[in-house]
């Protein structure tokens, strides 16, 4: 193939092209790794992760997220860097990436490096370049901050293994929820080529953890785990399909995170959905909410959705939506219910549930106490009792609760109220509902 990179280019121009090309990857977290500095270099990592800035779209900037090169031999339909696009191309040298990372890091601009790349010549060649860069950063510059590296599907397992020992997190993007979808969107990628490195990284992590229990100083393999990302809304797959895939990835591949990326039609492909009214951000938001329910609230994907109800209610968050359809489980008595039951109450989160469990050892709690603990009373009040009493008499009735919960969902500035994807309409109450006969 011919390479279309201009030979000499100022660093600023390269950064602009390669940061622009990398921005559609959503993963930004610098969490999961906790490491102190050993006194010989620069950097440490914090388990909670650190965001260093926020860009104009409200997404956090934690890592220096760049591509090594946006040159690519593949022709994926959703990707701005596909081979058939006529976009300016650039490539860093390993030293340039190291310079940017080190100088940004010591000024506290970034938490580390997120290095991905288009495929230059071959997956192996690309992975080697990435490996060389990270190796230099870790050994020559003694960089001990966070490093997130993309495993290039189809690269030699030995290369992936080497990078795994240098990086905090690795990720392979699943791109599309279904294998057929991937085939249609990315003719050069195959589902198996994506799952193979994913499995390899999972095994590497397990092995490294086992070794660490025996040898304290055994090398650490991707301490912060691995993640992946799916594009949402490019193909007609349902939320149920997406959540099931995510659940499988968490359970069978022990992923740390699955990211959802609302589709932006960057190539103005006429066969793909147009995003002139903006990417499907609300749908993406609901998927993230459900993702949290899977990971921290012990929900299962098929509790939230099923074949008959394959999409999330855009007007109501997934937890409230689950609750109003399971009113038989409510109201919950705050002073008696166990932790897992508390977690299922809309308006109660992980932190407030923990605080409730800890505080009620000292005596029974009131609604006033709950407020101070961070429970969102206006959402929770339909579902809880304190000492056997509700805050004020509220009907345990699906329609009544939904109406009250969504009324808090005031229309945005543009006057648009979030619509419901599956056509669910909660009807307006009329006087006859209260038994009043007109006339």
């Amino acid at each position: 193939m011919e390479v279309r990179i201009a030979p000499q280019m100022p660093l600023a121009d390269k950064l602009k092209i390669l940061a622009d090309a990398a921005k559609y990857d959503v993963s930004c977290s610098s969490s999961g790794s906790s490491r102190r500095n050993d006194g010989t270099g620069i950097g440490n990592t914090l388990a909670a992760g650190i965001c260093h800035s926020f860009s104009e779209d409200g997404r956090c900037i934690s890592l220096l997220k760049i591509l090594f090169t946006n040159e690519c031999i593949y022709d994926c339909r959703y990707c701005i860097n596909r081979r058939s696009n006529d976009v300016p191309r650039a490539a860093f040298t390993p030293d340039e990436v190291c310079e940017l990372t080190m100088e940004f890091y010591r000024r506290n601009y970034i938490e580390g490096l997120f290095l991905s790349s288009g495929i230059l010549y071959s997956p192996d060649h690309t992975m080697e370049l990435i490996c060389e860069t990270v190796y230099k950063l870790r050994t020559l510059h003694r960089f001990q901050g966070y490093v997130h590296v993309k495993a290039i599907p189809g690269a030699d397992p030995a290369l992936i293994q080497r990078v795994g020992f240098l990086a905090d997190r690795m990720s392979v993007n699943l791109e599309m929820a279904t294998a057929d979808g991937l085939k249609a969107m990315a003719p050069n990628k195959h589902r198996n080529n994506i799952l193979k490195p994913m499995r390899q990284i999972q095994n590497g992590i397990i092995q490294s953890k086992n070794e660490l229990t025996v040898y304290k100083h055994a090398p650490r393999f991707c301490e912060a785990g691995q993640s992946t990302q799916m594009v949402i809304g490019a193909l007609p797959e349902s939320d149920y399909q997406i959540m099931s895939v995510a659940e499988n990835l968490y359970n069978k591949f022990s992923l740390k995170r699955v990211y959802y990326s609302a589709f932006v039609n960057v190539n103005e492909d006429k066969d793909l959905p147009a995003t002139v009214f903006g990417p499907p951000l609300l749908r993406e938001h609901r998927l993230y909410q459900a993702d949290w329910l899977l990971r921290f609230y012990n929900f299962k994907a098929d509790e939230l959705l099923n074949e008959k109800r394959p999409n999330f209610n855009l007007a109501l968050d997934p937890k409230a939506d689950w609750a109003v359809r399971h009113l038989e489980a409510f109201p919950v008595e705050i002073n008696r219910a166990d932790y897992h039951t508390l977690l299922r109450i809309p308006g109660v989160g992980v932190r407030s549930a923990r605080r409730i469990v800890a505080a009620r050892r000292f005596g029974s709690l009131t609604f006033e106490d709950l407020k101070k603990m961070g429970v969102v009373i206006k959402r929770a009040l339909y579902f809880i009792t304190c000492g056997g009493r509700m805050l004020y008499p509220a009907k345990l009735d699906e329609e009544y609760i939904v109406r009250n919960l969504t009324e808090q969902n005031k229309p945005g500035k543009d006057g648009k109220l979030s619509f419901m994807a599956d056509g669910t309409v909660y009807r307006q109450m009329s006087l006859s509902d209260y038994g009043v006969q007109p006339g």
Partner: protein
């Protein structure tokens, strides 16, 4: 019985000394209150006692708190004491009473039914959150002599909570963090332990600064401080990166501001107009 108000200095030492003095009165705790700073609304039929920060008393209190309440509660009390809210003295004092005298011990901070514990919890949480935000958002600039220098203007006194983080992260750097609101400096000489210096009126450029009409705080460091030649280059590169990283179709300034409040943006060069 009359109410007694112990007035103490606005510092960790001040509050802990006052707690010591409150216990030393041996009159129970019902009618004793701790007030940070000067009382502006004196009450009739109340006695005002003045407490001076005392090194020995402070250390005794710290030792007792650590052993009886554990490190976690102790840390929460320190964070609450660094808060800028004025009711912190009373909140910390009543929490200590709940922990030691009422015997909640290491679980004291869980007793959120007690309004003073809830308040201490709230104050501690705010300080911890702000400390984390400064760790996220402060920006070092390299001076001509290679020292890294950052300016911050936090509401709470977070210096003691952010220095250990940077000292661990940048062990081989000379760096200096300047809390403008308190004229407090966190100093870290390369390869050595960090310390704090209170520099009330000590920094000349600050005085010179007052004559310059400053538009945003981010412009100020250039006023009296000479940055290294490389500094501008990397600032421009990062500002470029910051601008490029946004996806136009997802533009959402409100979300950005919610995550990164304006009072922090003031100190960040990537938000000052170029």
């Amino acid at each position: 019985m009359e109410e007694k108000y112990i007035i103490c200095e606005d510092s960790l030492e001040g509050i802990f000394t006052a707690v010591y003095d409150a216990y030393a009165l041996r009159e129970g705790h019902e009618h004793i209150h701790i007030q940070v700073g000067e009382e502006d609304n004196y009450r009739l039929f109340a006695v005002y006692l003045y407490s001076r920060p005392d090194y020995v008393k402070t250390n005794k209190v710290i030792k007792t708190l650590k052993s009886r309440l554990g490190d976690e509660v102790y840390l929460a009390l320190c964070r609450a004491a660094a808060s800028f809210y004025e009711d912190k003295g009373e909140a910390v004092y009543r929490t200590v009473v709940d922990g030691i005298t009422a015997g909640s011990g290491t679980r004291t901070m869980d007793n959120l039914r007690n309004p003073y514990v809830a308040r201490t919890h709230e104050l501690a949480r705010r300080t911890a959150n702000e400390a984390h935000k400064e760790i996220e958002f402060l920006r070092f600039g390299e001076l001509e002599n290679g020292v890294l220098y950052a300016r911050i203007g936090p509401e709470n006194n977070v210096m003691a909570f952010i220095m250990p983080h940077f000292a661990d992260r940048l062990p081989k750097e000379n760096f200096l963090i300047h809390d403008e609101k308190r004229d407090l400096f966190g100093v870290h000489p390369a390869g050595k332990d960090w310390y704090m210096v209170s520099g009330r009126g000590a920094c000349e450029y600050n005085i010179a600064d007052k004559d310059n009409a400053r538009t945003t705080a981010a412009d100020a460091p250039d006023a009296g401080i000479r940055l290294s030649g490389e500094e501008r280059k990397y600032r421009e590169l990062f500002a470029l990166f910051h601008e490029t990283a946004a996806i136009g179709e997802r533009r959402n300034r409100r979300l950005q501001q919610q995550m990164l409040p304006l009072r922090f943006q003031e100190y960040m060069f990537e938000f000052s107009p170029r």
